[in-house]
């Protein structure tokens, strides 16, 4: 299936930078499986490490899907066990549009 994948969103104007990924996956599988494949393809790590006092803490990426054709329509995914087919296809060419945010978790 084709995925419109947003790799970053411009801080200044909120414009998403996206590319299309072609991923071989069944839509009855979980969105978590799809994100795992995206992590593999793009090389984006699932977590980032940070020093917290004397410990190292790991903070996960945050996952979003586009819920409307409106450019503001990104929604965070809380439940990664939901099926891929449960998510609406609201990308530029009606693909499933997903975004992995890597570092905002460090900012309170």
């Amino acid at each position: 299936m084709k995925i419109e994948f947003i790799s970053e969103i411009d801080d200044e104007n909120g414009t998403p930078v996206s590319k299309v990924l072609d991923i071989d996956i069944e839509e009855n599988l979980s969105i978590e499986k799809l994100f795992s494949k995206i992590h593999e393809i793009t090389g984006i790590p699932k977590f980032k490490e940070m020093k917290w006092g004397d410990e190292i803490e790991k903070i996960s990426c945050t996952y979003y899907f586009k819920s409307s054709f409106d450019s503001e329509g990104l929604e965070m995914i809380d439940d990664l066990s939901k099926q891929i087919s449960d998510f609406p296809k609201k990308g530029s060419n009606k693909e499933l549009c997903l975004y992995i945010e890597e570092s905002r978790g460090f900012v309170n």
Partner: protein, 231 residues
């Protein structure tokens, strides 16, 4: 340092707005209804809420609670860690000047205590050389380069979050020492507030630093957070 109100029909939001503009105290409204709708409606009377993708439904409210994804905390706010004194949204070009925190469920055993330091006390306590450091040296808050203290129209404001500074830039040993000395100064002037269920606290994000202590992973602590600019 605290002004107490009770949520009822007689509560005059204009008085609260004036207290926030004055900015020298933290406002606590007791018995506040525990819903996103009520919180959002109330804040809309006194300010303009900040909308963020990561908020509930992509709107104005964020649930500060333990939440894991990929077996890791989804964010610092979704952890049970001690969070040192900081400014929210320190990496924003325009930092929202107010924060509201509504306690839906406190942590167990006096944990998850909120702590604050007012800029007024920091200015009283800081030496001239420390003030110079705080007002002149620019630090990298993700994409924003700015000093910790700024003066505009004869009024100081504070923007500090060492987690953001340390996460997005290489810090030298000397800078680490500087940050440690700032933390020491800020912590020295801090005071604690233990939030109870139904307490809504409102405070100036540009005039107070805030943080919270560690709590048990299984405590189900839930705080609803809203960031806004006072009208």
């Amino acid at each position: 340092m605290l002004i107490n109100y009770t949520f009822n029909k007689e509560l005059v939001h204009e008085n609260i707005r004036k207290d926030i503009i004055k900015g020298d105290k933290i406002i606590c409204i007791k018995n506040f209804p525990l819903s996103d709708e009520n919180l959002n409606s109330f804040i809309n009377l006194i300010g303009i809420p900040i909308i963020e993708y990561r908020n509930n439904g992509g709107n104005s409210i964020f649930d500060v609670k333990v939440f894991k994804q990929n077996n890791f905390f989804r964010s610092i706010a979704n952890s049970n860690l001690n969070i040192p004194l900081h400014t929210d949204c320190a990496d924003f070009k325009s930092v929202p000047n107010c924060i509201g925190l509504l306690c839906v469920k406190p942590a167990l055993l006096e944990q998850g205590v909120s702590f604050f330091t007012s800029l007024k006390e920091i200015l009283k306590e800081a030496s001239n050389s420390k003030l110079k450091e705080l007002t002149t040296k620019k630090w990298k808050f993700r994409n924003e380069l700015k000093p910790i203290l700024q003066k505009k129209n004869e009024q100081f404001s504070i923007c500090y979050d060492r987690i953001t500074i340390e996460s997005f830039s290489q810090i030298t040993d000397k800078e680490l020492e500087e940050l440690n000395s700032f933390d020491e100064l800020f912590k020295k002037e801090s005071f604690e507030i233990m939030l109870k269920k139904g307490d809504l606290i409102l405070f100036r994000n540009d005039l107070f630093l805030h943080g919270r202590s560690h709590f048990d992973l299984n405590s189900e602590r839930l705080i609803k957070r809203i960031r806004f600019n006072v009208k």
